[in-house]
């Protein structure tokens, strides 16, 4: 088995359009959630989100590219360019033939769907642009990444709702760990902040109208975000041989299915994923210093997640820190685990734990150290990143400082 390390990271999200700005915002406990700017926002009940503002696609892509790239693909490419640049890798020959890209997304080209449904249903048009299908398909972002960077090995897209990115990164980790690929580009992207996307979420009545307050007794739901996180996962020996700067090591993962309910989470399913990741990583629970929580700010998730953590860690649950950065960047749905992995890298590499902001009242059912409102300096060696999706599909990653 190969060791797997992260040698590049990139992102675009409501907190920043690169890793540096995102880290700065997380350290400041800044909130990227604000009023939504979109057509027909007055017809929405939920009018806030973690939207990416000031994104100029025209400055980053040419006209033909924009014709083919949904916003979720644009986000993925922006993040991937940063990550691959940081890694210093260029893909050619045998390395290109074996390296690939696995991305997570839940909705795929939702903006394209929304615009074109509007066109044919609302505006009554009988013809749509020929690129609608290649723009909206869930694998569009992964395919365009493979084309831009010459990644010719195993490449695909994983859609497991809110766990998509963690499942994708788990697959990339597996491919590098087993020696099938020397390098995998991985992460996730989502752009569901369009009229239809928000309207659909409104229907579930789990959205907050004012803020995302994970673990706080007065929490009243989740807030959607958008963006992407992309990473370069690389064989440790490969990275060392070329003198790459190593951001962190991926040491384990686990995936479980609750097999119980399409929306309600299960403590057992979450706990099995957490303990499975620890076992896979061969780390003792006591070594874990920080968990990036799934922490959606819904009543159901937060108490279930805290109970699962308490079950797995026993008395050590009171010693570790667990925060939800969704309070700052919102819930990126299929892209969320990727952006949240940044908080894990920041914890390991810079010794700063991102806070759970907008925290106002302790909840006895979430009685853990949730790093309320202010970032904290702390030395941690092993961290976990949780993702528990609708449909009961869970994926947890374990990272270690290098």
């Amino acid at each position: 088995m190969k060791r797997v390390v992260i040698t590049g990271a990139g992102t675009i999200n409501a907190l920043g359009q690169n890793v540096e700005d995102t880290f700065a915002a997380m350290k400041d406990g800044r909130c990227g959630i604000g009023p939504l700017e979109m057509r027909d926002v007055d017809r929405l009940t939920i009018k806030i989100g973690g939207q990416v503002h000031g994104f100029e696609a025209e400055a980053r892509f040419n006209r033909q590219q924009i014709a083919l790239y949904d916003r979720f693909t644009q986000f993925a490419l922006v993040a991937a360019r940063q990550a691959i640049k940081q890694s210093g890798l260029e893909f050619s020959g045998e390395m290109a033939a074996k390296s690939g890209v696995v991305l997570g997304t839940s909705g795929g080209g939702m903006q394209t769907l929304d615009e074109n449904y509007r066109s044919v249903y609302e505006d009554g048009k009988n013809r749509v642009h020929p690129f609608v299908v290649p723009k909206l398909m869930n694998n569009a972002a992964a395919s365009h990444l493979s084309m831009e960077f010459n990644l010719k090995g195993p490449s695909f897209t994983v859609a497991t709702a809110c766990a998509s990115s963690n499942h994708a990164m788990s697959q990339a980790f597996q491919l590098v760990r087993t020696g099938m690929a020397p390098v995998m580009v991985t992460g996730g992207s989502e752009s569901m902040l369009c009229f239809g996307g928000v309207k659909a979420w409104e229907g579930l009545r789990v959205m907050s109208k004012d803020a995302c307050r994970p673990f706080s007794a007065n929490r009243n739901g989740m807030v959607q975000g958008e963006g992407a996180g992309v990473f370069v996962f690389e064989d440790y020996d490969h990275a060392r041989a070329r003198g790459a700067d190593i951001l962190a090591e991926v040491v384990g993962f686990a995936m479980t299915s609750d097999a119980s309910d399409i929306v309600m989470p299960s403590k057992q399913g979450a706990a099995r994923a957490i303990s499975g990741a620890l076992a896979d990583a061969k780390v003792n629970p006591e070594e874990v210093g920080y968990i990036n929580a799934h922490g959606t700010g819904t009543a159901a998730n937060d108490k279930t997640e805290c109970a699962a953590v308490a079950d797995v860690f026993g008395p050590h649950a009171d010693n570790l820190m667990i925060s939800s950065t969704k309070s700052m960047h919102g819930h990126l749905i299929g892209g969320t685990g990727a952006v949240e992995l940044l908080a894990c890298i920041m914890a390991l590499r810079e010794g700063v734990i991102a806070p759970t902001i907008s925290y106002e009242e302790p909840d006895p059912e979430c009685a853990l150290d949730v790093v309320p409102n202010e970032a904290r300096d702390a030395k941690v060696d092993v961290v976990l990143s949780n993702a528990f999706a609708f449909g009961g599909l869970n994926a947890v990653l374990a990272l270690r400082k290098v």
Partner: protein, 85 residues
């Protein structure tokens, strides 16, 4: 603008050329327009003239629409526009 000038404008935009660089004898291949560019051009032509072009990308040579050169495309569009009015 004549049908011919409008079609040339659409093809030129797709090929990222000036309209003056699109000659009547040019083939789409000469102009660097690939299969995806072709369907995008046909979409733009349909939108511009509010017509339906009988083009099947699965087998362009079997379509009732000749795309072998700029001349043949313009002739085909002129016929469709005339039939519609």
């Amino acid at each position: 603008m004549s049908v011919k000038d409008k079609v040339i404008e659409i093809i030129a935009e797709q090929a990222v050329l000036e309209p003056s660089d699109v000659t009547m004898e040019s083939t789409l291949e000469d102009l660097g327009i690939d299969s995806l560019g072709l369907v995008e051009s046909i979409f733009a032509i349909e939108e511009a003239f509010d017509i339906s072009v009988p083009f099947n990308a699965n087998d362009p040579t079997e379509s009732d629409f000749d795309i072998s050169s700029v001349t043949s495309i313009i002739a085909g569009i002129e016929k469709l526009v005339a039939e519609q009015s």
